[in-house]
Amino acid sequence: MSMQKKNGIVLGLGLALAVAGPAQGSAGSDVEMMDPDVSHHDRASIRKGAELYAQYCVGCHSLKYLRYKRLAEDVGADKQWLEEEIMRGDKDPYDHITSSMDPQDGVEWFGLAPPDLSLTARAQGEDWIYTYLNTFYVDEDSDVGYNNLVQEGTSMPHVLASLQGDQKAVRDDHGEVVDLEPVEGEEGRLSQEEYREMTAQITAFLSYAAEPIRADRERMGVWVILFLIVFTGVFYLLYKEYWRDIKK
């Protein structure tokens, strides 16, 4: 048996194993995840998502590992944008993005303090966030009036209901939720398409917030790899030159 062939088989098996089953953290939920289809290189979407976050989310959810200034730099915005769209009030650009809500109030109002969302995109995945924002449905049994497909029994009210409109569950014979459909007469201000675009932008922003360096790291990586390829090419020629005498 040729050694090369054998090497190939072993390495191939290892590689197949490595890509066989990516492990995402959203265990326990068998809901089909929706793909937000956003790129971490899309600065316009991240910027718009940051504005939406400042408008609808930051009242309850902090981003304690992200600084205002870093955000502005990464999306190519200036101080004025930061002050008008994001900070809104007496905040220092060097501060982390905090919520004005007292965690204790959260416990009293919703049963638990709203979590910090700095790393949610990395812990749960972009798909999870996007699907979560799109699958609230009316549930009379819930304290907050809504339930959610990806997080059953969620403590979060549907704060974007005025935009999306209400959805209700379509159930099968066993009472399991199989689909969601709009509640007539409770339409939101946005069309379904507009709402999906908006939630995709929020997802893009949260994905950015979970790893601000990601886009830069990939841009940098291209040059590093190119450099190494050239370098390795030189090493190869050196190797060939030295070994010419031996491999006669």
Binding site: L13, A18, A20, G221, I225, F231, T232, F235
Partner: protein, 410 residues
């Protein structure tokens, strides 16, 4: 001779320190079989990865805070606020997995070419010890970021000590410095990770290399090149490590670094295999994660542990599975080393063993119920069965080997 020339300086040094002789012994006059192939690259790659881990690790130590309160946030501080901190962190996490890739392939080379056989038994043993220390080092480093999996993996692994008869429970409390994994545990794992075990690792590496250069490298043909020397005492089939192997390895390092950087810059979590999603949640002693699995490089051993219902037996089997490697030079009674000369039975046996290890690695990620448990038991038996087979196959002379060639083939 001019006392101010370079050779004058060399003479001055050599009168006081064995500079030239050491260089010759280990580099320019250390002879290696001229047909060593790419399987022989992984030893020097392991050194490269060790250096990468030490350098990036020191950098991380500048900012990492080993306290329950600040460990997790200090890692995010490194990722976001420290210049190039993200690079050092990803270098270290990618390096950890790369270390095991390299070491597993390095060990596999020994199986292919019988590099553990006489006179290289001690070389093999120091190598296995290095692997054991590396596993401890990796486990302890894994706990430091203080994410959910860090914490609970720490809890699971340390609690294995509870199977020790009589004092087991007290031993766990003593190891943890409390009734659960806590800041005291973090502190001691940190100390072992950054200085205790690295000292052992580097010391053993030194012994490993000194041992290697005493007996010489094996060859893919199973030929001992030292048996055939020319008038000057140079093996006729040998080439000097420097410059021939150094330039060859340099090229190999380039290929490795391309792959390494591709992962580091484009897929540092490697789809959840190198850094797992639940570890982006801070450790919470009150909330058990839905599934606790070790990182990929431990999963084969973990599969054995979780497929055996009796925990004490599971621990013994798991430890035995790596400890048995220490005895490999005496289990294999084969007359030849290289797979090119060995009997068909050895080739099939090694193939089955390879598949077994890969299947066990996959099983270590599965839920410990139903089929995975049964498969885990079957493949655990096959794993140990390989060593029994290997001993019987070689001890009773079933193996039909090819004769050892006079010269190496190029």
């Amino acid at each position: 001779m001019n006392r101010l020339s370079l050779s004058g300086l060399q003479q001055w040094m050599d009168d006081r320190f064995p500079l030239t002789s050491t260089w010759r012994y280990h580099m320019s006059e250390y002879y290696v079989s001229k047909n060593v192939n790419w399987w022989y690259l992984f030893g020097s790659l392991a050194i490269l990865v060790l250096v990468i881990q030490v350098v990036s690790g020191v950098w991380l130590m500048f900012y990492y805070q080993p306290s329950a309160e600040r460990a997790f946030s200090s890692v995010e501080f490194i990722m976001r606020d420290v210049d190039w901190g993200w690079l050092m962190r990803y270098m270290h996490t990618t390096g950890a997995s790369a270390f095991f890739v390299v070491i597993y392939l390095h060990m596999y080379r020994s199986l292919l070419y019988g590099s553990y056989q006489k006179p290289r038994e001690l070389l093999w043993i120091t190598g296995v010890l290095l692997y054991l220390v590396l596993m401890a080092e990796a486990f302890m480093g894994y706990v430091l970021p203080w994410g959910q999996l860090s914490y609970w993996a720490g809890q699971v692994i340390i609690s294995l000590a509870s199977v020790v008869p009589v004092v087991g429970e007290e031993l766990v409390v003593w190891l943890q410095g409390g009734y659960i994994v806590n800041e005291a545990t973090l502190g001691r794992l940190y100390a072992f990770h950054v200085i205790g075990l690295p000292l052992v690792l580097i010391g053993l590496t030194f012994v490993h290399i000194v041992g290697l250069h005493h007996v010489g490298s094996s060859s893919p043909d199973g030929v001992e090149i030292k048996k055939n020397k020319d008038a000057n005492g140079k093996p006729v089939d040998g080439i000097a490590f420097h410059p021939y192997i150094t330039v060859k390895d340099l090229f190999g390092w380039g290929i490795f670094l391309i792959l390494f950087c591709a992962v580091m810059f484009f897929a540092p979590t490697f789809g959840g295999f190198f850094i797992e999603p639940p570890n982006f949640q801070e450790a919470d002693p009150l909330q058990t994660p839905s599934a606790i699995h070790p990182v990929w490089y431990f999963q084969a051993w973990y599969a054995m542990l979780q497929s055996i219902p009796n925990q004490a037996l599971g621990v013994v089997v798991m430890l035995g599975a790596s400890a048995i490697l220490l005895f490999l030079p005496w289990i294999d009674r084969g007359q030849v080393g290289s797979i090119r000369l060995r009997g068909l039975g050895y080739k099939i046996g090694l193939g089955v063993f390879t598949i077994t290890f890969i299947v066990l690695t996959w099983l270590g990620k599965q839920e410990p119920t139903g089929l995975p448990v049964i498969l885990g038991q079957i493949f655990t038996v096959i794993y140990f069965g390989y060593f029994v087979f290997l001993w019987a196959y070689t001890y009773f002379g079933f193996e039909k080997t090819k004769p050892v060639p006079e010269r190496v083939t190029v």
